[in-house]
Point group: C2
Chain length 336, copies 2
């Protein structure tokens, strides 16, 4: 295992040490707890809090979006494992400014269960109002009739951005939750994996993909996809992913979209750009206008090779919320 | 070969199509030439031009730094191959605003030869004044007594940033060249590679590294390093790289530095942060203050695993030039 780490069991704690060493002027631990990261960016009085949580190994997701115009806090789990309900409750309390907290996170069993418990706790013990919006953008993870079973993947970044802007504008908890839900209703993701990744405490690849095979729709933890195919050209991959997205969420001629071509870890930026090129061609043929391109690594699986394509169908409100300035140590739309 | 591309021979052209599709509002091709990228950001009247050039496969280097407060142009070669002198000359002409052009690029044979020819051409034929500063930050590539033989690696990003700020301030050609040279005199890089990468037209790894081995000081094209070692812990890697840097460029107690922990392609951000954490510890022990951390992918070798550590020793002038705002589609210091 050629991972750059010390003891595998310290992987997450030492990553958190690195984040504080590098970015401690802008983010902080909650009372020194390496499993709860909070924003230090100034926030407007009474701003609705927005928090997330999830397993480690996906940087910049999740904690990379704690910032200004983005998230207020993130509870941090072990690699690919949900943090505890207690950490989530601690975080929610720390992020409430009296107007409530939106819990906005990927639709995974552990996160769902723990967040539900945490919300119950803070509502009962601390009288903090919460709302929950779960990210379910991964088209591959369940058919349309079972949309509620879908997993959350890179599309959550668009939801963080939109909800963060809505909260910064001063919307109330219901309004921020509605903005997040609207963003997600307008967002779909489809991905493809080409190589596995290594969970530090396991020490070897957690699944395998054939030498000349790719898995369409594989999850960011290696959850099985919908199909194993022979390796395809960049254009064929782009067409396939875009077809699946548009089959699930049609966008009419004249529509506007923001497209994210997200590298899962080991796929070079050059290749992401070749995919973006093809997507722009297809959009042009369809009479759809792309704007605010996100090409890079926004939600990864450590050193997994592969990529996902996320489409957000913009209307006037979503476009304005996407354009509002946002910044964190891992994300800024200043140059997007 | 699981590279996301169409025909290998179209890799660079299609990457350039992707760049224009995504960022055509901010960068442009010179008369449609997919091998010369120019900035579209507004520049002050009479600003000294800054250009670079180099082989493809290193994004964001080189062309990712064409932007505001950065470079005016970049000539683009095939993967790991220098662009032609003609492309460089075309670019220099396009980037001259009457006050001359700085050619700032990595110290590689092909680039040196072609840029020398290009400069001669534009000086003779177009009466354009040029100056050359070659980046030679890679400590591993030659011993101190042969510093002029050293290769340019990730440290060039700091030189682009500093020179770009100096040019935007209105300095003349000699002043911009002096700022770039000063940045480089204060900058050293040392890297380690853990896996090879695949040049598209070759189709297989261009060199090999043993299952449990890493190569200290390997170049970003797979040039041999100074030593093959057994895989080490993150802390041992950080210590080794930092020791080599400081042995070559001592920084006294009380000094200020900007440190770049640069992923070569496949190494996860989590691991780069673990390395940054150790570097911050060592700096703290030495009484050196780190600022403006650069942790991420700034100069890559496609899907190569590994990382480099660059240290820039700041004085008041370099700190101010580093802090001046700069932005491109691939880089911004807004959140650094």
């Amino acid at each position: 295992m050629k991972k750059v780490l010390n003891r595998p069991e310290n992987f997450v704690d030492e990553m958190m040490d690195g984040i504080i060493a590098a970015y401690g002027d802008r983010v902080q631990l909650l009372n020194g707890d390496k499993r709860v990261l909070l924003s230090k960016y100034p926030a407007p009085e009474g701003k609705v809090g927005i928090v997330t949580a999830g397993g480690s190994g996906h940087l910049p997701v999740f904690l990379g979006y704690v910032g200004d115009g983005l998230l207020d806090g993130c509870a941090v789990g072990n690699v690919f494992a949900s943090p505890s309900a207690q950490k989530m409750a601690d975080m929610i309390k720390a992020c409430d400014r009296g107007r409530g907290v939106l819990c906005l996170y990927g639709n995974y069993g552990g996160d769902n269960m723990n967040f539900d418990m945490a919300c119950e706790t803070v509502e009962m013990e601390d009288d903090i109002q919460t709302k929950t919006v779960r990210v379910k953008d991964d088209v591959a993870s369940a058919p349309p009739e079972n949309k509620d079973k879908r997993r959350g993947v890179a599309g959550m970044v668009y939801a963080f951005k939109v909800a963060g802007a809505a909260a910064k504008e001063g919307r109330d908890l219901a309004g921020v939750a509605a903005a997040a839900q609207k963003a997600l209703d307008h967002t779909r993701t489809m991905g493809v994996a080409m190589s596995p990744c290594i969970v530090p405490e396991v020490g070897k690849p957690t699944f395998s993909i054939g030498e000349n095979e790719i898995e369409i729709g594989m999850g960011i933890h290696g959850e099985p996809g919908i199909e194993v195919r022979e390796m395809m050209t960049a254009d064929a991959i782009a067409d396939l992913l875009l077809d699946k997205v548009f089959a699930d969420m049609p966008v009419e001629k004249g529509g506007k979209v923001s497209v994210m071509v997200n590298g899962l870890g080991a796929t070079p930026k050059e290749e992401l750009l070749i995919v973006y090129r093809r997507i722009a061609q297809v959009l042009s043929e369809k009479g759809i206008t792309p704007m605010m391109p996100h090409v890079g690594e926004f939600a990864t699986s450590m050193e997994m090779a592969g990529l996902s394509v996320t489409v957000m169908h913009l209307d006037e409100e979503l476009e304005a919320l996407m354009r509002a300035p946002a910044t964190s140590p891992f994300y800024t739309n200043e140059n997007i």
